[in-house]
Symmetry: C2
Subunit: 498 residues, 2 copies
């Protein structure tokens, strides 16, 4: 067997192990009774250790070197080999003891965070999160040395391969300058439109579920290859051939939950559309978190909050909940779904203010990883940033620096992918509509097949065959940028005349 | 680290891997959309191979030998070591190629069986099942040589450690003589009682679920450590700290489904009661399939079809379904739940005729494994056996030798454990009632705590610490026999005067 084939065999095993882990994570969040937690943690730990042992096996480095010299590999195989080396480099950079220490510290810190957040008690969390930060910086250090990157970039590269902070600085710097002025103008334009009326409930969970499934099917979700369930925090789990998305039903307000379902459906369609031929191989995986988020935001923000789609969906909402009167008019629903309002909480933010939340976190985590900001000074720095970017100051840390799970949980370097995803979504949607005129009218009658066909061909089916920038370049004619996003905001929030 | 401690570490890993496998099997039967099947098969295959590699690792034999000579092991550790060696012997007896061939042949044969059964087409299945039988005999041969057992006993030992066919021959021989005459007398006695009235439906699934949960809780099922769900074929899955049972709701008849839930609850309580200290170690596992089936049948057949329990449960049933009139009277429900009637299908059989179904299969599979019965002659031999044991002849093979999944699926040597379980259930229940007078009145008011406490102490918490016979001896004062079972049948079906 060639070294390359031997590698495929080994990575196929790791891939299957990763899929098993993914399904058990889904079960843990959706099905597992509380008494199963300790046993599940041990199952997951064993699967993780086994996969890590396979990836850091002494033979792997040699096989990678040998395979690089082999003749006759096609482009996909070369790309696969490249992705194999990437995972191997990341995995072998970090000593097992450090991996374990960070895993344990993150678990402990996450637990304390669950108590500290509702209590708005940053001091309670501080020592635990400090340990996570310390170990994350150590991880950054060893990865930076191995990958020849800066500290922060070594972490960022785990989530968005090839992305560098210099690039993000430029993109986010421009946005940070543009957004405050834009926000003021958008609020002003909004104030001139008719007032937004709340949709009157209650909205039984069973009816929300039926409506969600109906719209998921319109978007192209295949229930022979996936499920919709409930969990405390909505997410997309499972595997490409069995994608599991979740939501949460608020019987007083269905609108956020419903849009959440469409958001997760965007993630699910990406997973589902990954190249079948390359299942369980690294090149068959999604490219990175920026493109992943682009697919959910393209569905949620670009397509499903467009006037065309809302005019299609509003009568279905009205019918689902036996809605009566003017609040259910499509234009009111549209205004509801495109409302702009600065707030403290990132996950509740609209698409105009969301980047400010991300830019704040990006700047703070860069400074903390660099050692320029002491964790103890985070609350003050956070509040100053909110004031500067959104003009508001959180009354306490629950609504401030304690709101997200990412830092206590060890996911440093992850935040920027949210806004990179929003930029990519706008850029891809713009290009898709230009390339395929059937897309917009399709969306307006609930037929997403033209859009999905374009996304499948230009994004999903490429897996990790090319870099994010290459995929963006081929699909849109340009690398990832913010022009389309700005144009989109301008068109939806300022130019719109109803 | 001592060799024993090293073994514990290794078996703990295998145990966690086995638990992960169990959860994924549950998901496959209960949650997974059809499109996930191929990927799941690969995940399970990889987990199976990994566990097999760990168990057959070259170092394991040496560690086992070394640990046997170590001083200072307590009784539980010695028993654990014994069980480790047992699994190791079974696993290393069979060449990997044979394991793989049998797995593949069983999967193919099971698929064909799903088509052949509804078509009553034995010839369609014959070549596939013949291959399974051939490979099962080969497996029996290598295991027999390794374990110094007869061919059939080597297979039987996988499911019921220590049980031998000579013992079963004696037990089943006596039953086969006793049962036909007893059945005639039971039918006669039944004919003298008031006719059984069917409970009039329909019975909405939602209400069946609520009633099932209510009675599960009465039996002692803890929903913080388990779930009740639905699947095509009811089963108990999951792990001791997260036991997942399933049922199926027939809206025209709730009675079988409900009793099925109580049956699976018996299995679940056994799993749940296994010794916490020995989680993930072989000695912490259930002792064998006979004791496992004894726990389900003790709940279903002994306790929950007793007059006391039915009189407690009948008003709950009536209330659950807003039942009106005499069919809902407790005595009618009791007669319904203790009705005797010979039939073709094993899984529908009452407790009087069930052993005949098992004895037939036991005799046939012994003959086929021995090479004394050709698979092609199975249908005729089956029908002759049914005639001799139950006095009825199946009109076709769908109602005859094609009804069970076990043989096509490669589970040769499993069948006798059903009836061994029924015998053990009667013997344990008799001993429990004698030892603890609070048990029977408890059951009659839906309080299973006295029964569960006795079972936990005398069966569940022993795990695989002792042999089945030792557990039976300690709990009941005698090895496994059929006296209590016969006495139970006599009392319920003949002596009963209402």
């Amino acid at each position: 067997m060639s070294a390359y084939k031997e590698l495929e065999t080994r990575f196929r095993r790791m891939g299957a192990l990763g899929q098993a882990t993914g399904m058990l994570h889904w079960d843990m969040s959706v099905m597992m009774p509380p008494g199963g937690a300790a046993a599940r943690a041990e199952q997951l730990a064993v699967l993780k250790v086994l996969a890590h042992e396979m990836l850091t096996h002494p033979a792997l480095g040699e096989l990678l070197d040998k395979a690089s010299g082999e003749q006759g590999l096609d482009d996909w195989q070369r790309a696969n080999l490249h992705e194999m080396r990437r995972s191997w480099l990341h995995a072998t950079a970090v000593p097992a003891a450090l991996v374990e220490a960070l895993t344990k510290a993150s678990a402990a810190s996450e637990q304390v965070w669950r108590l500290a957040r509702p209590a708005a008690d940053f001091k309670m969390l501080l020592p635990y999160m400090a340990e996570v930060l310390r170990l994350s910086r150590e991880t950054a250090k060893v990865k930076a040395a191995r990958l020849d990157l800066g500290l922060y970039d070594a972490l960022l590269d785990q989530y968005e391969p090839g992305m560098r902070s210099a690039r993000i600085d430029a993109l986010f710097g421009g946005l940070a300058e543009f957004l405050p002025g834009f926000l003021a103008r958008a609020m002003e334009a909004q104030a001139k439109r008719p007032p937004i009326q709340k949709l009157p409930g209650p909205f039984p969970a069973e009816k929300q579920r039926a409506l969600g499934r109906q719209l998921m099917q319109a978007l192209g979700f295949d229930f022979a290859h996936g499920r919709l369930d409930e969990s405390a925090h909505p997410f997309t789990g499972g595997i490409p051939d069995d994608v599991r998305i979740t939501t949460r039903y608020d019987e007083d307000d269905f609108t956020r939950g419903l849009m959440g379902v469409l958001h997760e459906t965007g993630h699910a369609l990406y997973e589902r559309g990954l190249p079948t031929r390359w299942r369980l191989q690294p090149v068959g995986d999604a490219r990175g978190m920026a493109l992943h988020e682009s697919q959910s935001l393209l569905m949620e923000m670009q397509a499903c909050r467009s006037r065309g789609f809302v005019h299609f969906a509003a009568p279905l909402m009205r019918a689902a909940f036996d809605g009566i009167g003017p609040p259910w008019d499509a234009e009111n629903v549209y205004r509801l779904y495109t409302r702009v309002e600065p707030g403290f909480i990132r996950v509740d933010a609209d698409e105009v203010t969301y980047p400010a939340h991300v830019i704040l976190r990006y700047r703070l985590e860069r400074a903390m990883i660099a050692g320029d900001l002491d964790l103890a000074d985070l609350p003050g720095a956070w509040n100053d940033g909110m004031k500067a970017l959104l003009g508001i100051t959180p009354p306490d840390d629950r609504l401030g620096c304690l709101q997200d799970i990412h830092w206590p949980d060890g996911a440093w370097g992850y935040f920027p992918t949210y806004t990179l995803g929003a930029l990519a979504a706008a850029q891809l949607f713009q290009a898709a509509k230009r390339a395929e005129p059937a897309i917009e009218p399709g969306i307006a009658r609930g037929d997403f097949r033209p859009l999905l066909a374009w996304l499948a061909a230009n994004v999903h089916a490429k897996g990790s065959r090319a870099t994010t920038d290459e995929i963006m370049q081929e699909a849109t004619g340009a690398k990832l940028g913010d022009a389309a996003f700005r144009a989109h905001l301008q068109s939806r929030y300022i130019d719109d005349r109803g």
